[in-house]
């Protein structure tokens, strides 16, 4: 149960705690998870969260597919993941218990809404008997049964709400109780409820506040013998913070990138989990000149973005794996015409429709090779929710500076997960300088910058720069050319241009010593767990370092040297070994792949175990 330290007064002080709220998707678990997060953030903890939605919009209440959960890890130290396993589980009904109990740490706290353990509900959750009657439950966990329904209704008996509406407040009872257990402030939440609902539904807002308090006082009055915990403020860098999810950060980064490059942003997408919210959020930023188009499909979406880029906007499109398949042909066109274009893939589980609401990082090889012919384009990846901001800006930088389409890989875990973020100063962000061609007719379509090999765009509306582009092979002047030598030359230029992008990368950061026994080499959303595992082992004195790549294609120029400094290279991925294929073919290095394909992030302990194995070899 967390990392226990000193016992102060009646409180146990913990360094980190992992809590999971689980219930029916109608029970409001995401809402209270968000509230718990905000008050912990405001209190000053570092934290990371991960919501886990059901695949169905609203599966029948009480069923297993209908279970919705929200996990948060918060602490007084740096928090990199939402946590391996919950120290405390709140289960609002039997189905939630059925799905989530197996993850609860032994000895962990288990809060259940006993009222929900009716025969009908038990049956829907495939329980043959009531698990609360199982003595093992009490011996293995700190079981706290609360008739949440009853107390909720009791506390609202003075109000005029219907019985159904009363019961809808029960999530706040659970939240209040957990606030009490973890000695969190509740004012923050009260303010939030007032602000959000007072106007639309004042009676409900007040009811929620009443129930929240009831939950809190329930702890205080009836459970004085109960353990309570304290988690101190985290020692983090001073600054202004906000909470941010991956897709939010991506959206803000795109807008910031476009501003820094002085281009109008044109985003065109087609809804798909977990990328839809990028389109949704961007459509709220019209006052930044952002134009959004909900296209008829993913092909159209990228086509609109390409048209936008041709006409001088910064064209951006985003999707998930199945949509990436559909964009392949157009990516080839953008590659051939060398137009700037940002293509975002928020990855999810596959193949095919796969596991649309689970995370996976299995579209890397598609990003690198998923088009016909030799059509090289850069690929970069975000590594944490807040890092999506920087990654988006980096994508805009590369796309414009090198006049190239670029693929940005994020994933469902990053997109939906959230963490506190120390907000950078916008003035501190470099401008992205790649002007369009001068007007007046001295324009050569594929004339190139000597260093970057990038071409310069001329855009419709510019006098004298009229020109034609297209998907047929062409010569420097932009004329269609079937000449064999020209084709070979253009193909080499495209390849070389990709390579040159690596010259613009900062030196690769190594976490830990620059040489040693094991280097953990990774990319994408696994950053948090890997960094947590490696840091912990470094603190224990083990010879392990890690490098987490943002730039996957091309890879950094200094990577080979870094790899050479280690005896073994461990490549953990949430796929069957895709970075591994790239590393092996590019560096001929006998890496050790470590793969998990369960639609779920790595646990820190899975990684430490694996690293230990390697160290013992």
């Amino acid at each position: 149960m967390g990392t226990e330290s000193t016992i102060a007064d009646e409180f146990k002080e913990l360094k980190t705690v992992v809590i999971r709220f689980a219930g029916d998707s109608g029970d409001g678990m995401q809402t209270i998870g968000e509230r718990f997060t905000d008050s912990s953030a405001a209190f000053g903890n570092d934290l990371a969260t991960f919501p886990d939605f059901p695949a169905e919009i609203r599966a029948p209440a009480g069923t297993i597919p209908g279970v919705s959960a929200f996990q948060i890890q918060f602490g007084s130290t740096e928090i990199l993941t939402p946590g391996d396993a919950p120290d405390a589980l709140v289960a609002m009904n039997p189905a939630a218990l059925a799905v989530h109990l197996r993850d609860l740490t032994e000895g962990g706290m288990l809060v259940v809404n006993s009222a929900a353990f009716t025969e009908a509900n038990l049956k829907m959750a495939d329980f043959e008997s009531n698990p609360l009657d199982d003595p093992e439950l009490t011996s293995k966990y700190e079981l706290i049964q609360v008739d949440i329904n009853h107390f909720t209704q009791e506390s609202l008996k003075e109000t005029e709400l219907t019985a159904k509406d009363k019961l809808r407040c029960k999530n706040f009872f659970a939240l209040g109780f957990m606030y009490w257990i973890y000695s969190r402030p509740i004012d923050n939440t009260i303010d939030f409820i007032r602000e959000k609902w007072s106007r639309k539904a004042p009676a409900l807002a007040e009811a929620n506040i009443t129930v929240l308090k009831a939950g809190y006082y329930f702890g205080e009055t009836t459970e004085t013998s109960r353990n309570r915990y304290m988690v101190a403020k985290a020692e983090v860098e001073a600054g202004t913070y906000r909470k941010i999810s991956g897709n939010e950060a991506l959206v803000l980064g795109l807008i910031a990138g476009a501003e820094k490059a002085d281009r109008k942003l044109l985003y065109s997408g087609y809804p798909i989990t977990p990328a839809s919210s990028i389109l949704e959020m961007l459509s709220n930023y019209k006052h930044f000149g952002v134009k959004t188009v909900q296209a008829e499909d993913e092909i159209a979406a990228i086509g609109v973005a390409i048209g936008g880029s041709f006409a001088g906007n910064l064209g951006i499109t985003g999707t998930s794996g199945p949509g990436m398949c559909l964009k392949a042909e157009f990516i080839g066109l953008a590659t051939s015409t060398e137009l700037p274009l940002v293509i975002i893939n928020v990855q999810r589980g596959g193949p095919s429709t796969g596991l649309p609401t689970k995370t996976e990082q299995s579209d890397l090889l598609q990003a690198v090779y998923g088009r016909h012919s030799d059509a090289p384009i850069p690929v970069i990846a975000a590594n944490s929710p807040s890092d999506c901001f920087e990654t988006a800006i980096e994508a805009v930088r590369i796309a414009l500076t090198f006049s190239t389409p670029i693929i940005v890989l994020s994933d469902l875990y990053l997109a939906n997960g959230a963490e506190p973020w120390r907000i950078p100063s916008m003035d501190g962000i470099d401008e992205i300088k790649k002007p369009i061609a001068e007007e007046g007719g001295n324009y050569t379509t594929f004339a190139r910058d000597e260093d970057t090999l990038s071409r310069t765009l001329a855009i419709p509306g510019q006098k004298g720069n009229e020109h034609r582009i297209g998907g047929l092979e062409k010569d420097e002047g932009g004329s269609v050319s079937y000449d064999p030598d020209n084709h070979e030359e253009m193909t080499h230029i495209r390849a070389e241009k990709l390579k040159r992008i690596a010259n613009s990368f900062p030196p690769t950061k190594v976490l830990g010593e620059k040489s040693g026994k094991v280097l953990v080499l990774s990319w994408g959303g696994t950053y948090g767990s890997i960094t947590a595992a490696v840091s912990a082992m470094q603190a224990e004195g083990f010879s392990v370092s890690s490098v987490h790549l943002k730039h996957l294609h091309p890879m950094p120029n200094d990577l080979k040297d870094i790899m050479d400094g280690f005896d073994q290279i461990l490549v953990p991925e949430l796929n069957m070994g895709q970075l591994d294929v790239l590393l092996r073919s590019q560096f001929l290095v006998d890496t050790v792949a470590y793969n998990k394909i369960q639609g779920q992030p790595f646990k820190v302990k899975e990684l430490t175990k694996k690293i230990h194995e390697l160290l013992q070899d």
């Binding site: 000053g44 065109s268 019209k286 159209a300 048209g307 006409a311 998907g471």
Partner: protein, 342 residues
Amino acid sequence: MATETIEENPLTKKDFVTPNDVRWCPGCGDYAILNSLQRTLPELGIPKENYVVVSGIGCSSRFPYYMNTYGFHTIHGRAPTVAAGVKVANPDLSVWMITGDGDGLSIGGNHLMHALRRNININILLFNNRVYGLTKGQYSPTSPVGTRTKTTPTGSIDNPLNPILFALGAEATFIARTIDTNPKHMIETFKAAQAHNGVSFVEIFQNCVIFNNKTWDPVYGRQSRDDNMLFLKEGEPMVFGKEEKKGIVWNGSQPEVIPLGDATPEEKGVMIHTPDRPGSLYTAMLAEMTHPEFPTPVGTLRQVEKPTYDAQIQDQVQEAIDSQDGKPDLQGLVNGANTWII
């Protein structure tokens, strides 16, 4: 608004000709269409640099290479999406989209349909030669049932699409038809298309000399054109035939061809062409008029006004900008509503 000030040196056809050799088969109908568009554009009062020609893939889609404007030869069937992106990015541009019956109606039918229903203010020219030219002569979605081609040696079995009815199904705001053998009519039609504030869909009967020669001769051939073609003019009666001695009347439930004899069209109750009716019935009637029973109508078949997609997107953005005071605050945006300070 694509119309700005007129150039000081008036543009001429020559300004729109590229040095590239035109590479269609000698005798291909595409030449005449190219010629007509090159003659139209200088007359529209739009600066040359504001023209963008976007196409898919096909013989017809080579078009942008031969127009000395901004041009984009995209991929098969997807031109409407790129054209939409160009127009949304910059509504000042005059965007001309070139497509074929295969490019536009086979692989690209969906994008075309959505461009039409969204009423994006671009001009779409569909070169209908009822065959796949570039891939050497397979049947297309407009080939009549029974067409024998390399892929249908025993005759095609799918009902062809009627491009006009298709466009009407998407409630296109401007629908017209013209023919590659009549430059004057093409130029008129192209002008009408550009004048329309909204999406303009123009079907062009085009001859492919190599793989489908004379496919439109029953309509516009020297022998047939008088009886098999109806030149529509807004506000004028639907008369045709040698010396315009035939007319179309509405019998209450369907159109009918009648001889005029010595009577005036008015006397005989000949229908007056009214392309601006809001509903679809009138254009559906025209769409289904086809030889030999009826003369095939050419000209503007439908023109109704609706707000355009590109203008509205611009309006929404502008409104949002106007509703703010001053330049948008990037730092404020990134900070969001809930921050805390440590």
